[in-house]
Symmetry: C2
Subunit: 322 residues, 2 copies
Amino acid sequence: MATIKDVAKKAHVSVATVSRVINQKGYVNEETRKLVLQAIEELNYVPNELARSLFQKKSHIIAVVMPHLTSYYFSDLLEVIEDETINANYRLMICNSKDDPEKETKYLKIFDQYNVDGIILISNTNRIDDYLRLKIPMIEIDHNLSDDIPSITSNNFLGGKLAAEKLVNSGCKRILHFRGPSGLVTVQDRTSGFQSILKEKGIENYTYDLAFLSPDPDDIENKIFNHLDVDGIFCDSDVIAMLAIQSLKRANKRIPEDVQVVGFDNIQLASMLEPKITTIEQSTDAIGKTVVKTIMKLINGENLDYFHQTIDVKLIERATTK
Amino acid sequence: MATIKDVAKKAHVSVATVSRVINQKGYVNEETRKLVLQAIEELNYVPNELARSLFQKKSHIIAVVMPHLTSYYFSDLLEVIEDETINANYRLMICNSKDDPEKETKYLKIFDQYNVDGIILISNTNRIDDYLRLKIPMIEIDHNLSDDIPSITSNNFLGGKLAAEKLVNSGCKRILHFRGPSGLVTVQDRTSGFQSILKEKGIENYTYDLAFLSPDPDDIENKIFNHLDVDGIFCDSDVIAMLAIQSLKRANKRIPEDVQVVGFDNIQLASMLEPKITTIEQSTDAIGKTVVKTIMKLINGENLDYFHQTIDVKLIERATTK
DNA sequence: AGATGTTATGTAACAAGTTACATGTTTTTA
DNA sequence: TAAAAACATGTAACTTGTTACATAACATCT
């Protein structure tokens, strides 16, 4: 591996001059610049980022802390974040906390050790103070764990509202809500938005909590058979919706004639399998882009226009609603 | 941030002694060791990994190059790889090539710049020579792009064979194979294994290529309606199987009575939705673990027992076969 | 007692860059 | 034409750790 010294020697200049050429900083004669660039070319030289980072106390590394890597929504999000991060000339270190305190401790140490420039926190954590202590620019997605950390979240309240409005306007009178874990703000907001409409219209409804990662099909089926009188179901994920739909079929319910269903997320399969699911789309694209843009601002010490940002969601009408 | 100098000063020793304590290398008096550890504790000191890496020309970073982040199989794989990597005390840098030559160029440069210790290549690439030029320990998953790079792959030949055997033994006479892109060795191997049995038994069959990432439902439906005489379908992914099943239903075929279906991967949904899919399970767990174990061997300069390793697959019988 | 080995610690070079500062040249300005 | 400003380049200090080497105290062996 060629170093800056090799380049300097080859171009008959000092390392300072080479550095100036690389970083386009300070005065360099055009002739000299060309010589240096040629030497770089010939030696296939790439500056060592570790040395650079060491001096600048900036690693150009962004860490994303995920709760897991295997859900549709988070994978989509990660895909966007990775792309935007690279476009911004940063690299992505992936941290899968998996609710494992030991792993989280390891990662908290690593953030320090590598002078990580920014942290994107997608995972939930009860060690938010440890994160804050790091004094690293940070941003949360789908959480609101601290007033000192800016956040980006889908407008879940709106999502709940849109779902409720759709069901109510299509004539539903008794509604079931299969929601995610009630400890999550996203779930709470959805519920509030959903309830706000139902209360207003005085519509009867039931709520059940489910796991997001692997909702129990039997659990869903039991609830549905216990509520065969419902004519509308709002599910906090499309996977839950798919499971609900199949239980409804087994209960000989026609969709959407007897029961209407609204999902959440708009994953790919929601529009591939029959019946195509009416759902609330979260724009992972907008979230990802906003997240990276915002963390870059934080890293560059710029001011934020909004500390807590909200990304609008959209109702996608398909075949599970009238 | 405290540095090694701060620790040295606090413990009234030299930085060399502190370094010796940290790395448990060389002679250190027990008394001194305690003093140093205490200073480290009090200052909340963590050694700067960038400085360490710079000196050692080892970053403790592993790069995974993915073709995308959004498929079930790759996400599962990534989850295992991340876990194993951290356990081995390395960090994971994520690189999503997305078939974008520009991104790949960027990443190839980054691997050099960061003294990345190892590369796990999941993505396909036509720039394998550029990778080899890096002289970084490397391993491929599901590919065989170069004889100079060790590889880990599911036993796809066996997978194809198991699927064929199951269908044939359950009485299928005319079989459809919805396979992935025929350019992939994995797909080729599956096809060979599959065909080996069908040829042997003289069973009529048709093959169609589909995209893995987002197979076209209409395409699948057309093919099925053009082959209403088939009584068995082998799909190269569970998602394809799900799509095939729904088209079969629309064609008023009973599953498994009229047509039997075998999928591939064993994704979570395969056992959640009805009919539960008979499928060939790839052990992402075994693959991920083997990959990380192998790349660690390469990094440590150890010899490999097998240059090209194969992980057995398993037939999971469910409701789509007799 | 002198030689040799073990233990303990410090000094300084080194990894590969960046940049403050010094120095000298050239150009512009008054 | 002298002073000031702009241009060009190099030397060396600096980022934070690791380690070769030097030094010295003490133990063990002949």
